[in-house]
């Protein structure tokens, strides 16, 4: 579904990622673990085409590195960036509509998103910047899910949220697995990762290291010490 090989990526003259390899299978929740600055966010941005990149990112047989950034979501890749990056000046309804940009008629998908996050339905006319943190995260999720992605990129979706909200986000992500949507998740909290992830890939200083299943990881806690330093 997603096959990254020998990827180099960075900003301007600064190279952040080197020799990155990663594969994501349909319907799996794949977590990226690593210290701050290891390059997790840059990897997601490289997939979206928001940073300079070289190498190969194959998605369903298509080479993403040769596509302009706006073609990436059209291929079924949804993105929830770090800090959510909603269109804060636009209303909740308008933010949702941006998520529906790639399709002709989005009424049915829109209804489904509002059923998934009923709180958003009560706030449609409100500007996104005035929502609470949890509501903003719901909107960021709904905006990305409105693309009906087959691959969802989530960058620290539970950062700064209260426990009930973290549970809701977790439920949404695990439900997606049932519909064969793959999720590439960047998350700092190891215990949260172990609870949802199918596989984990460690990133260190811009290089991908071991990839292993969540069960294998439970048997090798020394890896967590080494790459995350808990």
């Amino acid at each position: 579904m997603l096959d990254i090989r020998d990827l180099e990526a960075g900003y301007g003259s600064v190279t952040v990622l080197r020799g990155v390899a990663l594969d994501v299978q349909p319907g799996e929740i794949h977590c990226l673990l690593g210290r701050n600055g290891a390059g997790k966010t840059t990897l997601l941005k490289a997939i979206m085409g928001h940073v300079r990149r070289q190498g190969s990112i194959l998605h369903d047989g298509a080479e993403l590195t040769s596509l302009p950034p706006h073609e990436v979501p059209r291929r079924g890749i949804g993105y929830v960036p770090q800090g959510r990056r909603l269109f804060a000046e636009l209303t909740v309804a308008e933010n949702l509509e941006i998520g529906l940009m790639t399709r002709r008629s989005g009424r049915e998908v829109r209804e489904r998103m509002l059923a998934l996050f009923p709180r958003l339905g009560e706030r449609l006319r409100q500007r996104a910047g005035t929502l609470s943190g949890g509501e903003q995260q719901m909107l960021a999720m709904a905006r990305a899910l409105a693309l009906e992605p087959t691959l969802l990129l989530l960058d620290e979706p539970t950062e700064g949220l209260q426990p009930s909200m973290i549970q809701l986000i977790r439920d949404v992500v695990t439900d997606l697995r049932q519909t064969h949507v793959a999720t590439l998740l960047v998350e700092q909290r190891v215990e949260a990762v172990l609870r949802v992830a199918d596989r984990v890939t460690f990133i260190e200083n811009g290089h991908t290291r071991e990839t292993l299943t969540a069960d294998e990881l439970r048997g090798r806690p020394e890896l967590l010490d080494r790459y995350v330093g808990v």
Binding site: H50, P68, P73, R85, E94, M101
Partner: protein
């Protein structure tokens, strides 16, 4: 009260009304031109120094079109009103594609590039149309009798057309899918592209729309002012003044500031001297930059 210290002669009251009317006409055209500049800066973060040349080109093309098409003046004028903004918009989209896109829309580089575009357009216009001011006949010729003097009915039409166009731009921005795409791109171009919005095509469209608005303003005013290859300087300066005072990216601010600058320019130029009007406008810009740098209606830049 003793007014003997005042360095100007006290004018006749009818002159005041003439100044107000001239100011309103100036405001209307200025609002259109400044709106184009404001849209381009708002969405693309580009200071388009060539904006006044797109205005000039609109006027010169209006002359070219009306001199080719014979018959009733209204016919040629109507064609010019449609053709000139389209041609200018197409030229703007092409220069976006050929120049600005290749500079990755870097703010500093695009300023230099648009200065270059200014001179290229100006000199080409001099080459093809010559150094003379060219008149365009108004599409109709009736005068409205006011209590103090007769006044050109055409100028009222200019004001009406400008108001309609501004309402149109507002509807486009606030009520349509294209407007939503433009606002999303303005807010965060990277996230806009993450949802399938082709940012480079939006930019080409916005640059064309901005230039087209300046060209429409010029076609509307050219029966009053004449077309000339150096006529782009004043609209550029006044548009910058309006955009700074009104606040970048604010439609309301642009309209209010255009009225403020247009009216004060019209009244002060008529009653005293045009130089005094420009001095006061520049002073106002300085005050705004010092005390309210985001403009009267603008929001603080992130």
């Amino acid at each position: 009260m003793d007014w003997s210290w005042f360095p100007f002669e006290m004018p006749h009251p009818a002159l005041l009304w003439a100044g107000v009317l001239e100011g309103i006409v100036l405001s209307a055209v200025l609002a259109l031109t400044a709106l184009g500049l404001s849209l381009v800066f708002g969405v693309m973060r580009i200071v388009n120094v060539a904006h006044g040349e797109f205005y000039m080109l609109g006027a010169v093309l209006a002359y070219a079109v009306t001199s080719v098409i014979g018959g009733h003046p209204a016919l040629g004028f109507t064609v010019a009103l449609i053709v000139a903004p389209l041609l200018v918009g197409a030229l703007a989209a092409a220069s976006d594609w050929l120049v600005l896109k290749r500079l990755n829309y870097e703010p500093e580089a695009t300023i230099v590039a648009t200065i270059g575009m200014l001179y290229i357009i100006q000199q080409l216009s001099l080459e093809f149309f010559g150094p003379d001011a060219r008149p365009v006949v108004a599409p109709f010729d009736w005068r409205i009798r006011l209590p103090w003097f007769g006044y050109s009915g055409y100028k009222f039409v200019v004001v009406g057309a400008a108001i309609l166009l501004m309402i149109g731009v507002w509807v486009l921005m606030a009520r349509t899918r294209i407007g939503l795409i433009m606002r999303a791109t303005q807010f965060d171009r990277e996230m806009a592209s993450a949802f399938g919005i082709p940012v480079d095509r939006v930019f080409a469209g916005v640059f064309a729309l901005g230039a087209g608005l300046a060209a429409i303003g010029a076609v509307l005013i050219v029966p009053v002012q004449q077309a000339h290859y150096l006529m782009g300087g004043d609209p550029l300066l006044l548009s910058f003044i309006v955009v700074i005072i009104g606040g970048l990216g604010s439609l309301k601010g642009t309209v209010v500031a255009a009225l403020l600058i247009g009216l004060s320019d019209g009244i002060i130029s008529t009653l005293f001297t045009p130089t005094l009007a420009k001095i006061l406008a520049t002073l106002l810009v300085a005050m705004v930059l010092v005390f309210r740098p985001q403009g009267l209606f603008g929001t603080r830049a992130a």
